[in-house]
Symmetry: C2
Subunit: 349 residues, 2 copies
């Protein structure tokens, strides 16, 4: 039996969207159970034998500071949802709320897996091959060492093997050229480390890739630090939105172009569904001792149900164990960063 804890209050739309998506999800998965976390009086809309409400009196707002989520709103739907995973009542949780708060709460409540310094956020980006390229980190870590990038590569491999059923997914290191001598010092060292990991059988390392390779689908996974990843993601959203806007404007220009739009409608619909990022909604927070998935804040019913599907697949395919097993296997290569982590702990104690 797989149970998901759903933060029904998070995101731009709250229960109106999350409950509808939960209903869709329950219909699609006859074995799945849901814990609907949030304000009891707002969750009456979904009565189902495999769903149960878990009351939470507070909501983390999209613009709440991390500190507010951590220290003040101790009965938030986001926190209670994560707590369900920690307590073993659910195998994964999904929230469309504030990303920073979700990461901070998840880290605080669940802690990181042994051998992982920092959890990462992994997004699937649609590619020209019709599949998705999984990119991490997308925003959680701004200053990364080569060891962090190796950890991301190992965790990303576990994610893709669990969700896409590829045993040895290929990993690219995001860089400004294919040659090994390119990039910053950290990137060059990360390249060496990833090559060592490939030699010891921990990774299927392809080599350096460039920004355009993400959309070409050159590798299954692309690894980068959170700053670069966030800029890449936002840039892509901005460009896609500009191109979509131009296309709409041109077809809406006058009566003739509107007529053309009617003729072209089936083609434009097919095109739209191919570039529909909602199909890939559901980013994984990796490296925690529990499964947490983040939906886009503006997700609609379809998009949010996709995030639920991804979390469900991850739980059923033992993503948590896969991450732990792979990290344990790569342990000798991660020793540099653990030394660093130990030093920091010693300094703090």
């Amino acid at each position: 039996m797989t149970t998901l804890a759903v933060d029904c209050m998070g995101g731009d739309h709250g229960p109106r969207v999350t409950l509808a998506a939960c209903r869709q999800f329950l219909q699609a998965h006859p074995d799945a159970h849901l814990l609907l976390v949030g304000a009891q009086d707002q969750l009456g809309g979904l009565v189902h034998e495999r769903a149960r409400v878990v009351h939470a009196s507070e909501v983390v707002a999209m613009d709440d500071a991390v500190e507010v989520a951590l220290r003040r709103k101790k009965d938030s739907s986001m926190r209670i949802a994560i707590q369900q995973v920690k307590d073993g009542h659910a195998q994964a949780t999904v929230s469309a709320g504030n990303t920073g708060a979700l990461m901070a709460l998840a880290r605080y409540l669940l802690k990181t897996v042994d051998g992982i310094d920092r959890p990462a956020i992994a997004y699937p980006m649609p590619n020209a091959k019709g599949g998705a390229t999984t990119v991490l980190d997308l925003g959680a870590n701004v200053d990364c060492t080569e060891h962090h990038l190796l950890q991301f590569a190992v965790m990303g491999s576990a994610l893709v093997s669990a969700l896409n059923h590829v045993e040895a997914p290929s990993v690219g290191l995001l860089n400004i050229g294919e040659e090994e001598i390119k990039g910053s010092e950290v990137i060059k060292k990360a390249g060496e480390l990833l090559r060592s990991a490939a030699n010891s059988g921990d990774l299927n390392f392809y080599g350096n890739v460039e920004g355009n390779d993400i959309f070409k689908g050159t590798t299954d996974i692309v690894v980068c630090d959170g700053f670069v990843g966030n800029v890449m993601l936002k840039t892509s959203e901005g460009l896609a939105s500009m191109i979509g806007g131009f296309l709409r404007e041109e077809f809406n220009r006058n009566i003739v172009t509107k007529l053309a739009a009617i003729f072209a409608y089936p083609v434009l619909s097919a095109f739209k569904s191919r570039v529909d990022y909602r199909r890939y909604n559901g980013a994984a927070l990796l490296g925690l001792r529990g499964l947490v998935f983040k939906s886009h804040g503006s997700a609609d019913e379809f998009a949010f149900s996709q995030a639920l599907n991804r979390a469900y697949d991850a739980a059923r395919n033992n993503l948590l164990e896969r991450v732990q097993t792979r990290i344990a296997h790569a342990r000798p290569l991660l020793v540099g960063s653990e030394g660093e982590a130990r030093t920091m702990e010693t300094a703090a104690s």
Copy 2:
């Protein structure tokens, strides 16, 4: 009289494209003169009273290492073209050749402007407002300090004021959030420095921007380090190419969709011209004691002539003096980096 030195051998197509573009350019600008640099026997295709061939016996290949361009091919068309600027025979040069080689040769031959540690590459990216957002640095500098980012901001302001006739163009600092507390240590310090520069009247600093703001056109200029800039540029190219490919595929799917394409043809053409990056071809290498413009390697005749137009406008609008004046004015804020540069020179001597 404005004279451009054109590297006619550079780029994927060489003289076939560059000469055709030069002819177009000479027709459009009755006062302009050109020095056509390259193999004499390949440049006979353009005979014009305002064009003169300057022979160069070698060509820097697109995959030549920087060292080859610098030390071995001393009679390359790229090098001789830059030399024309250094010797005062031309006010600017344009090349579609190897970017790394062009930057290295330009830096070696022309040297940097006082107060500038590292030249930067500035690209105009089309935005939703119908104009272009100038982004720098795009690939020349992978590890940047906050002082480098300030230098980029000042040079970018000079460029946009010269080419777009905006006296105080707005500058955004590329970051992963709008708040001042976001980003890496370097980015936070850069934010402080840019705010100081705004206070002393050296810049029109808007604040932090995110990746999507480039295409929204939130600011005239966006400043970032060369690693992030390169990833952003390549990602955009990859995404645009994927979206364009999907659109073509859907309209080519069968006889019905091909018929729809005929009806939609005028709309699709108008759309295509709006997203046509060729209109913005011509990146500026800023911070050198001479004007150097880089065309995309795959530029066709139209695109290459746009790069010539940009170089011509920059020369006529005194871009070089504008950069020097603005840098001199911002000198007190740049002192940190000059100290660093002096230390490095001392260490090397």
